[in-house]
Amino acid sequence: MTVVHHIHPEPQGFWRKYIWSTDHKVIAKQFLWAGLIFLAVGGALAMMIRTQWAFPDAGLFTPAGYTRIFTMHGLIMIFFAITPILIGAFGNFTIPLLIGARDMAFPRLNAMSFWTFVVALIIVVASLLTPERGAGSGWTLYPPLSTNVGLPGWGQTLVLIALFVSGVSTIMGAVNYITTVIRFRAPGMTYMKMPLTVWGLWLTAILNLLFVPIIGSAALLLLFDRLFHTQFFIAGAMGGTGDPLLFQHLFWIFGHPEVYILILPVWGFVGDLVSFFARKPAFWYRGTVGALLIVTVLSALVYGHHMYVSGMSPMLGLAFEALTLSISVPAVVLFGNWLMTLWRGSIRLTVPMVAALATIFVFGLGGLTGLLLGTIVTDIYLHDTMWVVGHFHLTMAAATFLGSFAALYYWFPKMFGRELHAGLGHAHVLLSVVLITAVFGMQLLAGLAGQQRRLFDPFVYRYIEPLRDLNRATSYAAFALAASQLLFVCNFFNALVRGKRAEANPWQVGTLEWTISSPPPHYNFKDVPKVVTGPHEFANPVVLEKLGRDWLAQTEPDPALEPDEPGSQTSA
């Protein structure tokens, strides 16, 4: 049974409208701003790492400072940039609009989720102001290094607290998304009529609800070890009878689903966008949904592949290896469905489409390079090398980055009621994908050559010495990548101020958000829409003949099914 919010008048005061808002569209923008700012911070930290590797002899950083830089880069990018952009911003903005709801199920919880997230951001910034300048354990937080044995001081402690608080925020968001999708779908919006974007975001929310509590409890136990002298994870000559590997299990049973938490929304965007801009129904929609579901289920069953060389039981290793490799089946189905959607389509290379294709490109490369890490015997050599760094950046960073931009270029007109400049957008996306491939491709090569990750000066090793030029070239490509983001920044602010007013449906797409004005009114849908058609109804010959266009809105019935009944078009 569908639940529908009543229409409340839009608050008019500045604070109620923009700051303490409970409107999912405003909260989405709040998350977007926070995420973009911290994306810039995380990017700046990445540039510092690349500077160190290009000029290790310049003495720009200390070894200890360098460990803080890469640790904060990883944590900020994952928890304070990608997560708020993909899930906070696009989850909030798209879920109610795409399923025909007037708001999230729990608008106040939604606002609380954002402001809890702000508290986490403040704690992270505070950690950078401590004498230690943040955490230095690597984003994986492995104890005993992350305990007082390795890194005493408030920098590491505050980062752990921030992680915990951001987890609380994520859980509040997840509960909200899950409930909204289950209870607030418009009449007729069955699960099999939901856009793939909603599927991706919904499954992500489910994974978040299941697994963020685990990293939360692991962080809490680690905090106990740091603050209250417990020894959950401390062992060795420093005393302690805890188990450092216990933390790795807890971390990765969250950490591997986290990879899918970040990529499932992107897969959803890509699945929708290739259909929208190939002007063709998404190929084998049910197969895609099935593949997303299987990946969701497998996500937590494969985490052990992060621990192949930790000394785990060989039987356990083999089980994780078999499960890990089996993920290739749903992955190939996803890719196959996207490629089949393109086949014999009528492809429009708009900015979001190019970004979606770029996402497929980098994710393809990232996914395929993962095969050698999912296999134990090859992982024994490649584990903890730059191959891993290249691989997970292509999947978790490059694909989510380009996928987020695909979404941003696509929904920007609906979010802000303005249009971005297409030429600048194309230049930004194309430069980004070329440079991303260069940066992370060269990291893969360095890894194949055996270079370990996280080395302050990699060239103390003789066998890495020949890779000096490769590392420097990677750095230059990374600097160019950072510089090319200015194209987006200019485009973004220019469009916000002077962009052309967007039409209600600039992309000629039939999902519900495009049936209302850009930007949507406070209550989204004056009349709750009645959904009768799937999200990817393109190129229907009867529609072409009768309506003269190649798309059909989800509120419009298929004229082929109800021929020539007067008034059958948009009743109810």
Binding site: P63, G236, A237, R348, L371, D384
Partner: protein, 251 residues
């Protein structure tokens, strides 16, 4: 890749190489498909109204199956066999008559190595203990037991294609065998603090006779130093080399 000087590294290299060939083929197919679609199926013609033809689904599933059975299958079967035969086969390494046993003690930021010495028993005064200097005879199977006193480390021999995390509170194992004389590098692959990058040791592969002489000399020297220390009033507990453990047969 750095030159492989191990007896078994070629097995890993071969699997990496064949998989890279597969991966390249798959990636090229994907890119060619996208490029062709974008070039041929543009605005010039209408899209085909096709949700999921039976044949299309068969192509997708067939492809998924092929990748699973050929690429993944090869990886899984080869990996399992090589682990059973070589890389995780510690029982065989234990049985081999000329196996060299070494205890490795990792700490921030160096590798201690301990040999049983003349008496063939670990944790006795005649043990040979070195710092960042591991020596092994060529061709012999080397069996390591690794422990850490402080944080996680990872013992990494790039020229041998092997690595093993070292976890405080437990003893992990690693085996390898060399087939070429020379001096090679030992790296740490697990972030272990500010000077992680400096945790570099050397592995010297020697002719067996030379190795035996070196080990004997070092062991004699160790006994001499130990006795001198005791004469000077040190108790065994005060001697810094006292970190070893009796070789654990069952891990």
């Amino acid at each position: 890749m750095p030159p492989d000087v191990s007896a078994h590294g070629y097995r890993i290299d071969a699997l990496i190489n064949i998989t890279l060939v597969f991966v390249t083929i798959l990636f090229v197919i994907m890119c060619a498909w996208m490029a062709y679609s974008c070039l041929r199926h543009g605005r010039s013609h209408r899209a085909r109204y096709d949700r999921a033809s039976r044949r299309g689904i068969a192509v997708v599933l067939g492809f998924a199956g092929a990748v699973f059975f050929v690429v993944d299958g090869n990886l899984f079967v080869t990996s399992t066999l090589e682990l059973k035969r070589i890389f995780w086969n510690f029982a065989d390494a234990d049985r081999a008559p000329d196996t060299v046993r070494i205890e490795i003690n990792a700490h921030q930021w160096a590798w201690d190595a301990r040999y049983a010495g003349n008496d063939g028993t670990f944790n006795t005064p005649d043990d040979v203990v070195t710092l960042n200097d591991i020596r092994v005879p060529v061709d012999a199977v080397v069996l390591l037991q690794l422990a850490s006193v402080d944080v996680l480390h990872s013992f990494y021999l790039p020229n041998f294609r092997v690595k093993q995390d070292v976890v405080p509170g437990s003893i992990n194992r690693l085996r390898f065998a060399s087939r070429k004389l020379g001096v090679y590098e030992v790296g740490c692959a697990q972030h272990c603090g500010a000077n992680h990058y400096k945790m570099r040791g050397e592995l010297t592969v020697m002719p067996p006779a030379e190795f035996a002489v070196w080990l004997k000399e070092q062991s004699d020297e160790a006994v001499r130093v130990h006795e001198e220390a005791l004469r000077n009033g040190f108790t065994p507990q005060m001697i810094e080399r006292q970190w070893g453990w009796s070789w654990s047969e069952n891990l």
